[in-house]
Symmetry: none
């Protein structure tokens, strides 16, 4: 079997995702990360069709230093009735200087006739002419057969004739695309096997997730003989997205024992997937297979005691292989074992401190009765553990008082102003902050006051804020739970606050977030 | 083939998801929605193991009126060395009065010996004893064989003996669980086929999404002969989640032509999935198959004209079958229809007022772009419609200004004081209210000020309050969406506010809630 191609189309098909807009610099940054991930091909865009993509290929020549991956340019077969050698868009592919060109071609008779509005014969000629022209210019050519699976079901002979034409004209790989995403794995396997048996072509697969089966369909294609898989990082793409390339590669590597990517590169997968989501500004999905923040997180108390003894019983693989780690969530189902595991994750040894485990467990249970939840607030649990082990170690500052005033004239938006009074470093620290909303104002005032004693907090930033009203039957009299995610630019941590007032709950989560950040940096108390 | 069982475990296994915490009232609300969705079984929790779940089954008897679904209680086989008839946890299952009991049993020799710490023989005896005891008490018993697929690979004979034991003791279905989620579809198909061929049991499947294949694995199980599938709404669950039950049912129904759910109920799938995400407060995932907001959204561009001519060329199915819509093309028509429907629900006749429908639709679309959502805020839409039909009819009072001050001394809770200035009944109405939190204080001040002009508001009460931060990547700078439910003691209605400040958003929803209540009572403007 030929070495498997792992072909990334994050920068082209992935960028079709709603709300995802990449600048040329973003694309260059992502391309560098994709190379680190160990993909074989990076489809950079459609030069000629899109000025941004033309610029990407120009800048890539000098600004991108790929160590493993090969850059590919995406384009289409030439215009109906024309000649490839005189087609401006085909010429733009040559001008991009990409050594690989991936051409989209129609293979579904309905699309040829109703969308492309040409004849079935001319479409074949467009494929032949464009592929052979580009091969003649020294390019490696891959052909993406759009709507292939639907086309095969509608008119198998015609779909196969497109594959044969591309192959005979010199295409290195013919990629079968489930463009509308409606296939299931057994259907993909059947079609791939038929194409392999009926044509001499090397076959690839390009799947979308409309049936929730993009990863399974890609694996089914490879099991049926495909040796080229296309996908995107984080499964970005139009509608439900493309096949998630890390999920596909990890399945092939760890579940089927094939070589998809360099094992050392795969160990960076979680880091790279998250770094790419920072560039795209699409929040990472915590339940994402392999690389999601929750992908190896365990909640059930039932499991936690056994987990401690034998982690392999409760995880399908070693999470370190994809750069992830096992986490246990402390919750009302959890017990002693969860607390001990949580401590171990934080690098704290509680093996000879059963009284600390017991007191933290009692505190967790007591707070949970009042609406606290710790499974999404690791940092708060860690602060409780550290404080129990070394009383006073979290006392970075003393809170004297705080106040927020929000006002609005009429029906428009409101403005908030917060004043906080703290004591630290032997002084009273008083500061005022303004904000869009009251929590934003509190955050600004708190930061402003603390900077004088702890300039280290400059790196620490609030990045997410969630509110939940508990026991809704009492309306605004109810208890409010606030979860805050804080970051130092490298990692992030979650804290919780629960109080009758949303602002008191926010204050608790905000201050814990900052204290955790200071402890993490090893900042001494002043 | 037996009629397929669609078995929902959102309330039990789904609730294992990180960050997901359901009150008993939340669980009852979700159970009602699951019944509307057309699932056959609703697993309510583990009575006896968890006081919240015991309470759920108690309250379900009087508060839950299921039309289609059957409630199931989850539990475990009896303690090793004991007797089912004297096991307190087994008795709690009987006491729950659920007619179906789903028992988790070990079927993996490593788990029996290292996690359960008993003998292989005693484990079989625990299965036999517990199943036959519950069958003897008139219960339908399903057995979830935990870690079955891994167990089958390790020791096939033992895994099969657990299935045979459960079946012979009277279990109606033996459910093969991919507890750690590491399987691929071809492996699931192979094991299901083997169990069917080797035992006489009816087989079900319970899949997790760790390889991104939960939906495909569930479909593979059914293709291999399983007639019972377990999953959760929105794919909630520990780690990467469980199989998404709507995706699985839609694949079975629309891709394999089986009957999974009532077609009319499936047409509510998108609405129900989103309503459940409002209860869980887990943001809906826009790329979710079938029901995601983006699932049938096409980025305008390459195929826009073809899309208009022939939508079937570009979508894998009619999105209306799952209550979704193709965004670029039919959202206008869908929006128009839903506005007419909402008007009809409110007793307003718009049949000869197309300009009112058009203007409200334009306003709704403009607001939706800014983060408003009207699915859960019927009363706000009704106010917009009434105002468009009869301008000025909602002007019960004019807002001059409002202000809230929240302060706290030290680490404790906070107190809030709000002052509102309104004009109505020819006078300036100024009042101050105190509260636990700032929204509570605003609500008290608003009510106090309005009582002088509208004593009728005494009956109107805020009963629920929900907050969601939109576009989480900006932290507290993000836009806040507030949903408020208001009641007059007989019925209740929902209003929405969206603003940069949580208090401005709350103010909008609060005032709309009161105006809707006054209109509803037919109170004249003063």
């Amino acid at each position: 079997m030929e070495a498997l191609h792992v072909y990334d189309t994050t920068l082209r098909d992935g960028a079709q995702q709603e709300g995802l807009n990449l600048s040329v610099s973003d694309k260059l940054a992502i391309a560098g990360l994709l190379d680190d991930l160990g993909v074989d091909f990076i489809e950079g865009g459609w030069p000629g069709a899109n000025p941004k993509d033309t610029e990407f290929f120009e800048r890539a020549r000098t600004e991108l230093d790929l160590r493993h991956a090969t850059l590919a340019a995406f384009g289409a077969t030439r215009r109906a009735g024309g000649v490839a050698a005189q087609d401006a868009l085909v010429q733009a592919l040559v001008d991009s200087e990409a050594s690989v060109v991936c051409l989209v071609a129609k293979s579904h008779t309905g699309h040829v006739e109703r969308a492309l509005r040409t004849t079935l014969g001319e479409n074949l000629e467009m494929v032949r002419d464009t592929v052979s022209h580009l091969v003649g210019r020294g390019r490696r050519v891959f052909v993406d057969c759009e709507h292939f699976f639907d086309g095969w079901h509608l008119d198998r002979d015609y779909a196969l004739s497109v594959v044969r034409t591309a192959h005979e004209a010199g295409a290195e790989v013919v990629v079968l695309c489930d463009t509308n995403g409606g296939m299931l794995p057994h259907q993909v396997g059947e079609v791939v096997a038929d194409v392999l048996a009926s044509t001499g072509a090397r076959v690839g697969a390009h799947c979308h997730n409309d049936t929730g089966c993009a990863a399974a369909n890609s694996v089914a294609a490879v099991r049926a003989g495909a040796t080229h898989v296309q996908g995107t990082v984080n499964g970005y793409g139009e509608r439900t997205g493309n096949a998630d390339l890390v999920t596909v590669a990890a399945n092939l590597q760890f579940k089927l024992g094939l070589h998809a990517m360099d094992p050392d590169a795969l160990r960076r997968a979680m880091h790279i997937a998250h770094a790419i989501s920072e560039v795209t500004n699409v929040p990472a999905y915590s339940r994402q297979p392999y690389v999601g923040a929750s992908a190896f997180a365990h909640k059930a108390g039932l499991h936690a005691s056994a987990l401690k003894v034998d982690p392999d019983l409760y995880q399908h693989m070693d999470p370190a292989l994809v750069g992830n780690g096992m986490r246990t969530l402390v919750s009302d189902m959890a017990g002693r074992a969860s607390i001990e595991l949580k401590a171990r994750e934080a690098g704290l040894d509680l093996s000879d401190r059963p009284e600390v485990v017991a007191s933290v467990l009692a505190e967790v249970k007591e707070l949970e009765l009042r609406g606290w939840t710790f499974d999404a607030a690791d940092a708060t649990v860690e602060l409780m553990l550290r404080e129990a082990l070394d009383p006073g170690c979290t006392d970075y500052f003393e809170v004297e008082s705080w106040r927020v005033i929000t006002d609005s004239s009429g029906e428009g938006d409101a403005t908030s102003e917060a004043t906080v009074k703290l004591r630290a470093d032997g002084a009273r620290l008083i500061a005022t902050g303004e904000g869009n909303g009251p929590v934003n104002a509190l955050d600004h005032a708190l930061r402003e006051a603390l900077t004088r004693a702890y300039p280290e907090i400059e790196k620490i930033e609030l990045i997410d804020f969630k509110v939940r009203i508990l026991d809704a039957s009492h309306g605004t009299d109810a208890v409010t739970r606030v979860l805050i995610e804080t970051s130092d630019g490298e990692t992030s941590w979650d804290t919780i606050g629960v109080a009758g007032s949303i602002l008191a709950a926010s204050w608790r989560a905000l201050t814990d977030g900052i204290v955790h950040g200071l402890l993490r940096q090893g900042v001494p108390r002043r």
